[in-house]
């Protein structure tokens, strides 16, 4: 089972930031694999969604990049900037708060389910 795509909307940026908080640096492809693995395939980040998001984070100054070569193949590592670290804490706690609120909404009258 894979979550319907609409659910994941709006959380991608936060997921990326959170992973970078935990791993100091990661590259794009690695992120797609990590999320897949951590969620037992339930969340699949597509490259078409990820790369534009990473570029926006960079434009916004939340991440910095380093290009490295493994043999002849390029890898672009992303790390949180100081502003990125602050932003990550904000986004993560907002999402946690939001999920508590949503859980409350979903639990009303249907404590069983």
């Amino acid at each position: 089972m894979i979550y319907s795509s609409e659910l994941i909307k709006g959380t991608l940026k936060t997921i990326v930031l959170k992973m970078l908080e935990d791993n100091t640096r990661m590259y794009g492809y690695e992120m797609t694999q990590r999320v897949k693995e951590l969620t037992h395939e339930k969340i699949q980040i597509t490259e078409g969604a990820l790369y534009p998001t990473l570029h926006v984070l960079e434009e916004d100054g939340l991440v910095t990049t380093e290009l490295e070569y493994i043999g002849k193949r390029a890898r672009k590592y992303y790390s949180l900037s100081p502003q990125g670290k602050t932003k990550t804490k904000e986004k993560v706690s907002e999402l946690a708060d939001f999920m508590d609120t949503m859980k409350f909404l979903l639990d009303i009258k249907t404590q069983s389910a």
Copy 2:
């Protein structure tokens, strides 16, 4: 504090269906007020987002409508169809599952926060 709009994306349809499951019938404006009240203003559903969503639910056969007049003012009540009831259970349990997964992702290495 109001949640950033991107967070709410993708959950609106589920919220609406869930409210209709709990209340047998509601009208649009009522839904906006109910959510605002239940979430202490943290989630504000705008009419520009809600009405098109309701129309889609109707087109998809998940809800039925009844028009009523309070004096001269029209109210459009929405109720779940049988398919809507089934769909609601699916959507609600998917969202609950998704939130557990997200919580797991956010808790990694940052059990404090």
